[in-house]
């Protein structure tokens, strides 16, 4: 089910958390809201969930064309996974998962047997078979995360919303769970919107990345497009390491170039039209990629990355003069 967000504003007192946000989340997609803390991404997610309401008189939120702007969270049919899971600690895993079904009014509540079947089915889906009788505190972080997911899915939500789903996990579990979530999403095909501040996570996982900063959307697009064709200086800076090099042509607008897009040549091969001269300031070559810190002829520093093989061919050492060529550089004028 698609989500359509139309010119939403949200203010807390004098602070504007969301400034006229519009966004389309296509049916069945996995969309990431990516941004630093304070960018408004969590507020936007909470407005979609109905946990927060947009300013009166501002825009609408539509699920598959149906206006849900004024619908309470419990009636929207959304699955929500909280950053710290918010599991009910006094209930077993099975009771947690069944919660959304057991609180239905008796006219709509499925019979107990159906609820049990659904819980078992979900436990299987999130790979927690046999753990239904445990309590949340007996589970690992990754397992709790999946219980929260199963609980959210039990009510057969129209859309799934995840707030920093991997934020509280350690690096390895994070990676595994990320991969698992991608496969899981492809299997169930539920429209999913998740919040993250980790650009790697957003780029790796999502079909569509929404980059947010300062209460606004900076850019929306597939990961590859957002990475390769950033539309604003913020996006290029936020999506990975980048050099901002000033030149004489327009000192106000620097050239942005990623370290792996910097080519290094022998100083003698420099083409004055495109290349600049530099010296190797520092060199770090442990690992598959060699990282160089270069000092340009005007004193600015430039980071570059080379394969080990390229480095060996150039035979560089600290202090050596080189020529640098910046490919795929962006300038925002």
């Amino acid at each position: 089910m698609s989500i359509s967000i139309q010119s939403i504003r949200k203010t807390f007192g004098s602070y504007t958390a969301l400034d006229n946000i519009s966004l389309e989340v296509p049916d069945g997609s996995l969309t990431a809201l990516l941004g630093p803390s304070g960018s408004g991404k969590t507020t936007l997610l909470r407005i979609v969930a109905g946990l927060e309401f947009a300013d009166p008189g501002s825009g609408r939120v539509l699920f598959h064309g149906e206006d849900v702007t004024d619908v309470q969270a419990g009636q929207r049919g959304v699955g929500f996974v909280f950053q710290h899971y918010a599991l009910f600690k006094h209930m077993t895993v099975a009771e947690n998962i069944a919660f959304g079904l057991t609180v239905l009014p008796s006219s709509k509540r499925p019979p107990k047997k159906d609820i049990d079947d659904r819980v078992n089915e979900l436990l299987g889906l999130v790979k927690l078979d046999g753990l239904g009788k445990r309590r949340p505190h007996e589970l690992s972080g990754g397992q709790r995360q999946r219980v929260a997911l199963a609980r959210a899915l039990a009510i057969r939500p129209k859309v799934l919303l995840l707030d920093e789903p991997f934020g509280a996990l350690d690096a390895q579990v994070r990676k595994d769970l990320r991969r698992w979530l991608r496969i899981f999403h492809d299997e169930i095909g539920l429209t999913t919107l998740f919040v993250t501040h980790d650009q790697e996570e957003a780029l790796e996982l999502a079909d569509q990345v929404v980059v947010m900063a300062n209460s606004r959307i900076e850019q929306v697009g597939p990961p590859q497009q957002v990475y390769d064709h950033p539309e604003t200086p913020f996006v290029i800076r936020f999506l990975g390491n980048v050099n901002a090099i000033k030149d004489s042509r327009n000192p106000e607008a620097p050239i942005y170039v990623r370290p792996h897009d910097v080519s290094i040549l022998f100083a003698a091969e420099a083409d004055p039209a495109t290349d600049r001269l530099a010296r190797v300031q520092h060199l770090f070559a442990a690992g598959p990629v060699a990282k160089l810190s270069l000092r340009l002829d005007d004193g600015q520093f430039l980071d570059a990355e080379l394969s080990r093989q390229q480095l060996d061919e150039l035979g560089l050492d600290v202090g050596d003069p080189v020529a640098v060529r910046m490919q795929g550089a962006s300038r925002f004028e």
Binding site: K89, F99, V103
Partner: protein, 272 residues
């Protein structure tokens, strides 16, 4: 014992604990029982089953239980307001909760008496409704509620603060109504703290003396509480009788507190 422990100082701290418990709790209590042992079982039985002692025991334990129960409900409400809402004067209200801890109980007793007496500010309205405020078992109950409810607020408050809003949001988003959320999500988390608060308020109420003697009127068989009866015996130089009543009271209190403790273990999901 030769085993290495991660936390050092067990011997020393355990020694201090035992010594301290000994001189401030165990030795005085044993002295009480030794004194009471001066009388035989027959006399024990006679004193403890005398109509006046039974009436006082009924009032003491009954009013204490009722006051602790009401304190639990009120305390829960007050804690909820203090934790969940921001309003001007919240900090002052928060500080006021502690006043019954600090106020000399006699002062509390006299103040409550003057207010709840049939001519007092509140007492006259109660009198209009045919309820006697001060100088009645109800007056005892009022004093014990005043004394007990801060215990509940102070035990529930930190648990509530810890709980945060996420659990409620999770419940709401899964379709639960407000009442269901309270009953199934919030309340179970608060139960252990509520029982602890109840127990403290109850224990405190059983032993309460200062405030009650002013508001109760101290009529034997009607509004006399056990601690007062004990003092009355002492004034008549019946030390053994006083010790017997005190011992009986202590045993019953211990038994009740022990039962509550068991109940708490059963209900506490953390230890289950």
């Amino acid at each position: 014992m030769g085993k290495k422990r991660v936390i050092p100082g067990f011997g020393l701290s355990f020694g201090i604990t035992v010594f301290w418990l000994g001189i401030i709790i165990l030795i005085p209590l044993s002295a009480l029982f030794i004194k009471a042992a001066g009388l035989g079982p027959g006399e024990w039985w006679k004193i403890l089953t005398s109509a006046r002692v039974l009436a006082a025991a009924k009032l003491t334990f009954g009013a204490s239980a009722a006051a602790a129960a009401v304190s639990t409900v009120l305390g829960l409400l007050v804690a909820w307001v203090l934790v969940r809402y921001q309003f001007p004067g919240r900090r002052i209200l928060d500080a006021i909760v502690d006043l019954p801890f600090a106020l000399p109980t006699a002062v509390a007793g006299i103040t409550l008496t003057s207010i709840y007496a049939p001519t007092g500010w509140i007492g006259k309205y109660l009198a209009d409704m045919g309820i006697q405020g001060a100088y009645s078992p109800f007056g005892v109950f009022i004093a014990l509620t005043f004394i007990g409810f801060p215990f509940v607020v102070r035990t529930v408050q930190p648990v509530m603060e810890d709980m945060g809003l996420e659990l409620e949001e999770a419940s709401a988003i899964l379709g639960a109504g407000r009442w269901t959320t309270f009953r199934r999500v919030i309340f179970p988390v608060l139960i252990p703290a509520l029982i602890t608060g109840f127990t403290l308020a109850f224990a405190r109420a059983i032993g309460e003396y200062g405030s009650v003697i002013f508001i109760s009127g101290n009529l034997p068989m009607k509004t006399e509480i056990l601690p007062l009866l004990i003092v009355a015996q002492l004034e008549q130089v019946k030390y053994e009788a006083a010790a017997v009543i005190a011992s009986g009271m202590l045993l019953v209190s211990f038994f009740l507190l022990f039962l509550i403790n068991l109940l708490q273990r059963r209900l506490n999901w953390q230890t289950r």
